[in-house]
Amino acid sequence: MDTIERISPTNLFICFGSTLMVLTVVSALSGFLALGEFFVSMFVLIINMIISIAAAWPIYRYWFHTKMSMDDEQFNLEVGKREKASGRWNEFDEVSLVHLGRGRMGIRLYYRNKDDFVEIPASDLKLNASDLRFKAIDLTKKGQPPNETQG
């Protein structure tokens, strides 16, 4: 199985920025409780930045880091530690190209026998979503009876 795993600098930066923002707000509130005014010193800000840099990576790994393994038979997809999906290509009969927001593209695989789908965020894997769509169409077609069309 080929494994595709890419680090997304945008998502990593979102994790860093969010952590820094939360720490700064907590520091300001602590300052207000202790001194009676909202105040964040440069020293506290630097400490917060160091903590944010250290915390961004594990948070990114938990929420965003996308990893996909695939071959001609099946695929496994992990979005952080919170979402896992796997399946055989022939379990799906329709493939669509989707815009996931913030300029991200992906493909959606619709199950043949149930009203559900799996979404593969191609942009997060630095894959060309259109190429992945056509590849997925070919792979899902292999398991279909003749004359059945999909796309």
Binding site: H99, G101, Q150
Partner: protein, 150 residues
């Protein structure tokens, strides 16, 4: 894709060779009329833009495929069922062909009355477009500029 068009909706999902009933559409895109965007445009859209789920279904007619009034009626019935199943409020059905469509077909489209479905017959060789008489059908002429094939 070539040609020019105006903003109609935020189409977020696209299918190729999607089967709807007995018909395989070359392209089927779905989306919503409410655009996404950053904070201010999102707030503006929330208050001022209706959030209709829409679809555009495109089928090209090749020489091997016969399209008469009954076949087109079947396609439109299948589209209406597809809309109901997927809770789609508005649809545009575009049938494209190199060459003129028969007058009987044009008359059928011009008298098609379903308000939620806009139908257009597009002759890509001359750029002529015949649309249904519904509001969204008539608007197709404004939305889409048909490129003439060379």
């Amino acid at each position: 894709m070539t040609g020019k068009a105006r903003w109609v909706a935020d189409f977020t999902e696209s299918f190729r060779n999607r089967r709807v009933g007995d018909t395989v559409f070359d392209m089927l895109v779905t989306g919503k009329t409410r655009p996404s965007g950053l904070l201010l445009s999102r707030i503006f859209a929330f208050f001022f833009t209706p959030n209709y789920k829409v679809a555009c279904l495109v089928r090209s007619v090749t020489d091997g495929l016969s399209l008469d009034r009954l076949r087109l009626a079947e396609i439109l019935r299948a589209t209406e069922k597809f809309m109901k199943r997927n809770e789609i409020d508005w649809s545009w059905v575009v049938i494209a062909k190199e060459g003129a469509f028969p007058e009987t077909l044009k008359n059928f489209v011009q008298t098609y009355r379903t308000r939620e479905v806009g139908v257009a017959l597009v002759d890509v060789s001359s750029g002529d477009m015949t649309t249904s008489d519904s509001f969204i059908g008539r608007n197709l002429e404004r939305y889409a500029k048909v490129p003439k094939s060379k």
